[in-house]
Assembly symmetry: C2
DNA sequence: GTATTTGCAAATGATTTGCAGTGCT
DNA sequence: AGCACTGCAAATCATTTGCAAATAC
């Protein structure tokens, strides 16, 4: 019901393809276009890549989704809910949320830069605990 | 002399194309592949796009350059010197450095996440002072 | 019923690759 | 001399577009 409302509020039609996209992103947290395509194809094989692209663009523009771009990696998408940052592992590619105070950071940067800021993309790169353990 | 040393230290050969790339990035601060290609073509018309791509990859891998990826925009490149963040204007596309304490932020995130972090990509999106003035 | 959305196929755009020739060191 | 680098052309990969048929409301 939640996603239906999100779509209707923005005058976007509730189609099975759209619901499938939102459901997968909800399950996986962060997902690339290619992964999304494969996941959805499993139970909805007629879905085309073009439709995925069109919807991703639309859902990002309308603010339901957010694009995550890490240097050196392909972009992923997530639900645009609370403001948070990300940590990403160089070794295994894992991407996780990290809850730091982005609002305070943003306020500080507005004062420093004179920009009127509305969002933050912050990604920390390094090695995850699991990959650290492996290299011992 | 500075760039020559940076290259030699990493056992990369000092070629005119490489020097041109580093020089342009030094001048412009942040530049896209396409802009770089156009700038270099002006005084060095034989330079190919393939060479630019190969060198950008090499220079990023070796740590001389850094890739900047903002959600919704094409990637740009900068010299990998002091750790800093960026602010970007939605309206005019301008990208600027902002000097916040990235080291403290990174340390905090290491403690919170258990990741062993080595770099940060932080981009704040909003409206620059000039574009704010225009909308009055 | 009408406007939006979908899927296909083709077009476009971005990046990579193979290889022969050139140029650093 | 020997290996790294360049430039070209072709290949590959990513994304967008046009349009007719399908579908949400």
């Amino acid at each position: 019901m939640y996603f239906e409302n999100e779509l209707k509020t923005r005058r976007l039609k509730v189609t099975p393809q759209r619901m499938a996209i939102l459901k997968e992103i909800d399950i996986y947290g962060h997902i690339s276009i290619e992964e999304l395509y494969e996941k959805i194809r499993v139970y909805y094989p007629s879905t085309s890549l073009a439709t995925i692209y069109k919807n991703i663009t639309l859902l990002c523009d309308s603010g339901i989704l957010r694009e995550i771009k890490a240097p050196g990696y392909k972009q992923k998408y997530e639900l645009n809910q609370s403001k948070h940052a990300h940590v990403m592992c160089d070794k295994c590619g894992k991407l996780e949320d990290i809850h730091i105070d982005c609002v305070a950071l943003q306020t500080h940067c507005m004062q420093t830069s004179g920009y009127n800021l509305h969002s933050v993309s912050a990604i920390f790169m390094g090695t995850c605990p699991a990959c650290q353990a492996l290299s011992h």
